[in-house]
């Protein structure tokens, strides 16, 4: 029981009603029984600061209290994992270069609630936060990707949906463009279920030599080391952000929650990043061991307590030393989520150097008022977390009690779902329907969004956003790293297990389509309220889907899983009427290429090549764009045949590695027809090569052949390589169907069994594809 010098909150003697009222008044969202548990744990009633600390540490966002037991089932170990999901980011092995082992650092986060309430700042600080997660591993920041989900742009909330979408995109651009991080991938889906609760996820990559990795725990023998906070002066912005992330958004509290959103300063971040690279260089030169952690949820308290607790130490913090921009109470200084800050653990001998780099060389104070690096405390042998403010002890508790969190065993109950396949009339020609598919906002070109992002800053982009199924950047030597994100929310609504398995499989297919080996996954699990058994069931099912796909579509030619190395859980994504967002396990896949010069994109290259399709068309249009056009959801979500996927993915990687393919595109949203159109148009919609598809596809309706979203690939290749590629796939018991040829004409013709299903000029397709999404933002 630690001694304190300030008043206690008499949790133990208050009635339930009084305690509830007290906490409500103080913006503490702990449950009554949780507050009482604190008294047991620390052996006395808590101070108000301690109560706030537990409020944050025990929030769903910080403690994963509902999700932890389920997440444990995911495969996180594999021979290529350098660091699994235990710190701010995961690290996967890239390979050797000039005798040094390199790792790719990867992190995946959500900023859903802030982006719904204050879209520009919410999205911008989402980028700000993920960049810190990457930097604090000691790495150089390479690229970002942004999966976004918005409400129905034609629905009852359309004006607000458009406003949110535009502002989120502006916020992402405003932050990452200014910092100078290329955006290399992303996707956007619109669906009614996101009307009151958009999803703004973000993925970030970095690179670090294995020997240079920094950890978010104090180094060995670090008793007495300085605890340094660097960055923007602490203010009251973003106070309670973690707790806010764990609440349901409701109209009445939206206004008051605005203060829980942080204020971004990409300009200062830009300088902090550059200064921090310099600290890395100096520390490596002098072989100094440091601890380094991003300050996100829970601010100084969370960063400093975890840095010390994870190394078996305690900490003493003096809040009066913290640079603040206003007079604020102790618990706000300790817990505010003011942006653009980091915590260092440094030996006294190196502290001077750190302060000099931030405060003099890069002169942070000249960039943002009172921004600087200051020593705020020290690492102690005694394993207590002791905080002083104005000379008085305001928090004094065992540090592992503060950081150990809380667990819940949530109940899951299979919801009643009743889906059926619609009865849609067949047509003679699908020209008109096809144009509608191409202009569907979930299919149409997202150029209006990603042309607002800087895609080639740093000069390492090889395949930019939109040019292929995955973005590709050069990292070191000839190594290329591909990145893709995926999740179709409409699949998850019908079947959360298949929704997640499809997302995982497609993210892998996407990186394979440029020639990279799927090497690691991250997941951002966006779901409803875990306290509701039906919504928790969806979460459990989705995790099972990810697990199965990651394990069974195993790493290229091995039995090892493609490991999940980082992730995030975002619960309470539901509207005030209690309806959850579509189950949205957003998956990011990282692909590695040893030689980026072999990479290909999706655009047709010549007018005399052959087109092959791998992956059969099946009656799997549940959740498809085609059904959506008919206002139907359907039932038959694409199945994920793991063995077929392995063969498809391995075969594509091998074909590209042997330089047998000219272009390649994954079949997904909008089906085969859309895939072909996108290959003709190319990412910038400036393609001029036509296609003549002529096949005899048995046992399936014409519309289902064209628009089924069953997994597959279409590849373009020279005639002379057809046999080679077909043999290569035959090795995996797969047929590479000959679809037809590219042509000098300016149209797409699709003929099945002698019947002309589609015959459209490229200009018409371009018009539909390039305006469908752009219109939505206007």
């Amino acid at each position: 029981m630690g001694k304190v010098d300030v008043d206690l909150v008499y949790v133990s003697s208050m009635s339930d009603a009084a305690l509830k009222k007290f906490m409500q008044k103080n913006a503490i969202s702990l449950k009554v029984e949780e507050a009482r548990k604190i008294v047991k744990l620390i052996g006395r009633n808590p101070t108000i600061t301690e109560l706030h600390i537990f409020n944050i540490q025990w929030s769903e966002h910080s403690s994963y209290k509902s999700s932890r037991p389920i997440l444990k089932t995911l495969p996180t170990k594999a021979p290529n994992v350098i660091l699994g999901p235990v710190e701010d980011s995961g690290i996967i092995e890239l390979g050797m270069h000039k005798g040094e082992k390199y790792g790719i650092v990867m992190s995946h986060e959500s900023h859903n609630h802030p982006s719904q309430v204050v879209p520009y700042e919410g999205a911008a600080t989402g980028i700000g936060g993920i960049i810190r997660d990457i930097l604090c591993m000691g790495s150089r920041i390479l690229a970002t990707a942004d999966p976004l989900r918005f409400g129905n742009p034609n629905g009852k909330n359309k004006d607000h949906v458009k406003y949110v979408a535009n502002e989120v995109i502006n916020g992402i651009a405003g932050y990452s463009n200014a910092v100078g991080i290329p955006n290399i991938a992303g996707d956007i889906y619109f669906d009614d279920s996101f009307d009151d609760n958009c999803l703004v996820n973000v993925v970030c990559l970095g690179m670090v030599k294995e020997k240079d990795i920094l950890h978010s725990y104090a180094p060995k023998n670090s008793e007495g080391y300085d605890i340094i906070v660097v960055g923007k002066p602490t203010d009251n912005s973003g106070f309670g952000g973690a707790a806010f992330a764990s609440l349901i958004l409701d109209e009445d509290t939206k206004e008051s929650n605005k203060s829980a959103v942080q204020v971004p300063d990409p300009f200062l971040k830009n300088m902090i990043i550059r200064a921090t690279y310099e600290v890395f260089r100096e520390a490596r030169k002098k072989k100094v061991k440091l601890g380094f952690k991003d300050m996100g949820a829970g601010g100084i308290m969370c960063a400093s307590s975890e840095l010390c607790a994870d190394a078996g130490y305690g900490a003493e913090i003096d809040l009066d030393k913290v640079n603040v921009s206003m007079d604020i109470p102790s618990f706000i200084i300790a817990c505010s989520e003011t942006q653009e800050r980091f915590t260092w653990i440094s030996p006294k001998s190196f502290t001077k150097k750190i302060l000099e780099i931030y405060n003099e060389k890069f002169d942070l104070g000249s960039v943002a008022e009172n921004a600087k690096a200051v020593v705020v405390g020290k690492v102690t042998k005694k394993k207590d977390y002791l905080v002083r403010h104005k000379g008085k002890i305001v928090c004094n508790a065992a540090v592992d009690v503060i950081t150990s969190g809380i667990r819940y065993e949530r109940k899951a109950k299979k919801p009643k779902r009743n889906f059926s396949e619609p009865n849609i009339k067949e047509r003679k020609s699908y020209n008109e329907t096809f144009l509608k598919v191409l202009s569907h906002p979930n299919v149409a070109s997202k150029a209006k969004c990603y042309n607002h992002y800087d895609k080639n800053v740093q000069g390492n982009s090889i395949i930019e956003s939109g040019q292929a199924d995955a973005g590709l950047i050069r990292v070191v030597g000839k190594y290329g790293v591909a990145l893709s994100v995926d999740n179709n929310p409409r699949y998850g609504m019908i079947d959360p297990y298949l929704g997640a398995a499809n997302a995982t499989a497609e993210a892998m297919r996407n990186v394979a389509a440029v020639g990279a080996i799927p090497s690691a996954l991250t997941d951002c699990l966006n779901f409803g309220n875990p306290e509701k058994p039906e919504q928790f069931y969806d979460f459990k099912e989705a995790v099972r889907g990810i697990k199965d796909a990651a394990e069974q579509i195993s790493y290229f030619k091995t039995k090892n899983p493609v490991p999940i190395i980082s992730g995030n859980v975002s619960f309470y994504n539901e509207s005030s009427n209690g309806k959850a967002v579509a189950p949205s396990p957003v998956i990011a896949c990282l692909g590695i290429m040893k030689d980026y010069s072999k990479a290909i994109d999706m655009k047709l290259k010549t007018s005399d090549s052959v087109l092959l399709m791998i992956g059969n068309r099946k009656d799997e249009l549940g959740g498809s764009i085609y059904y959506d056009l008919h206002k139907e959801l359907g039932k038959n979500v694409p199945g994920v045949d793991f063995d077929e996927h392995k063969g498809m993915i391995y075969g594509i990687i091998e074909s590209i590695d042997q330089r047998l393919l000219l272009s390649c595109h994954d079949i997904s949203d909008g089906g085969l027809a859309t895939c072909l159109a996108e290959m003709m148009l190319g990412g910038s919609a400036d393609g001029t090569i036509g296609m003549e598809i002529n096949f005899n596809y048995p046992h399936l309706r014409d519309d289902k052949i064209l628009f089924s979203e069953s997994a597959g690939f279409v590849v373009e290749l020279e005639k002379k390589n057809v046999e080679k590629v077909q043999k290569l796939f035959a090795k995996y018991q797969l047929i590479a169907h000959e679809l037809g040829e590219t042509s000098k004409s300016d149209s797409l013709k699709i003929i099945n069994n002698g019947k002309k299903l589609v015959d459209i000029k490229i200009n018409k397709m371009k018009e539909a594809w390039t305006t469908g999404f752009a219109k939505v933002l206007e």
Binding site: H452, K455, Q458, G459, E464, S597, D601, S684
Partner: protein, 254 residues
């Protein structure tokens, strides 16, 4: 032979200094990134590149605060001696705000206004074509009508001036260094060929002497073939590098 030394001048908020330095080096010169507040003597360098980004957060107006930085006075003096100065994107905005470009009189004559773009409002990043139309320190190695493929990445890149006659004068003087054009080199003054509504399709402008150039597109991001969308991912040098190689040639002759 001694390599020439180029300073890549970093103002707080810039973010293209690394690839700019790479381009300087790939062209066969020595380069160094110099922070705005460094004590190192800028005068000893043979030439200067001001990279892209958001110098001083583009407060007030893009480029204007950096234009008033003491460092720029120094560079201005060195430019008068004939040293080459290249400003790319935000660096171009800085040069325009100092009046160093086009510098037909001793005052600020041009502005880089917000893009006029019917598709994307504000910041816009796509690949465009441009061709050299003037003769200066950075275009020496280009043949007539040679078309370059480069990315643009800016929200305020529209070259404008109040004086129409000035544009004609600049054209006569060969100070319009690069113009946006079609892939085959045709100057069409409409979107998307002209991506920002720039007067006379101006992509880059130089001073009369031709040793100072303000360029909105980013050649430093497109010096290797692998960086071009849709092309083979090889490590061959592209024509864009000739902007930096011209700078080197200019220095050699000087």
């Amino acid at each position: 032979m001694d390599k020439k030394n180029i300073a890549v001048v970093y103002f707080p908020g810039n973010n293209c200094e690394i690839e700019t330095l790479e381009a300087v080096k790939a062209a066969g010169m020595n380069g160094k990134i110099l922070r705005w507040n460094t004590q190192q003597d800028l005068r000893k360098f043979d030439g200067y590149v001001i990279p892209g980004g958001w110098a001083y957060e583009d407060r007030v107006r893009a480029g204007i605060i950096a234009a008033k930085d003491p460092v720029m006075n120094l560079i201005k003096e060195e430019a008068k001696k004939g040293k080459p100065v290249l400003g790319i994107c935000n660096g171009a905005q800085v040069l325009i705000e100092t009046g160093m470009v086009p510098n037909t009189q001793d005052k600020v004559e041009f502005a880089l206004a917000p893009n006029i773009n019917p598709f994307v409002k504000g910041y816009y990043n796509v690949w465009v074509n441009m061709k050299s139309s003037g003769k200066n320190a950075f275009t020496k190695l280009f043949s007539k009508n040679e078309v370059l493929y480069v990315p643009i990445a800016h929200g305020e890149g529209r070259f404008i001036t109040k004086e129409k006659s000035l544009v004609e004068k600049l054209e006569r003087n060969g100070q319009i260094a690069f113009k946006y054009c079609t892939g085959s080199g045709k100057i069409e003054n409409k979107f998307p060929v002209n991506p920002n509504g720039s007067m006379c399709n101006i992509a880059a402008l130089s001073n009369k002497e031709g040793n100072v150039m303000a360029m909105m597109p980013h050649p430093e991001r497109a010096i290797w073939q692998r960086q071009f969308p849709g092309s083979k991912k090889e490590d061959n040098k592209t024509a864009n590098l000739k902007i930096f190689e011209s700078m080197k040639k200019y220095l050699k002759r000087k």
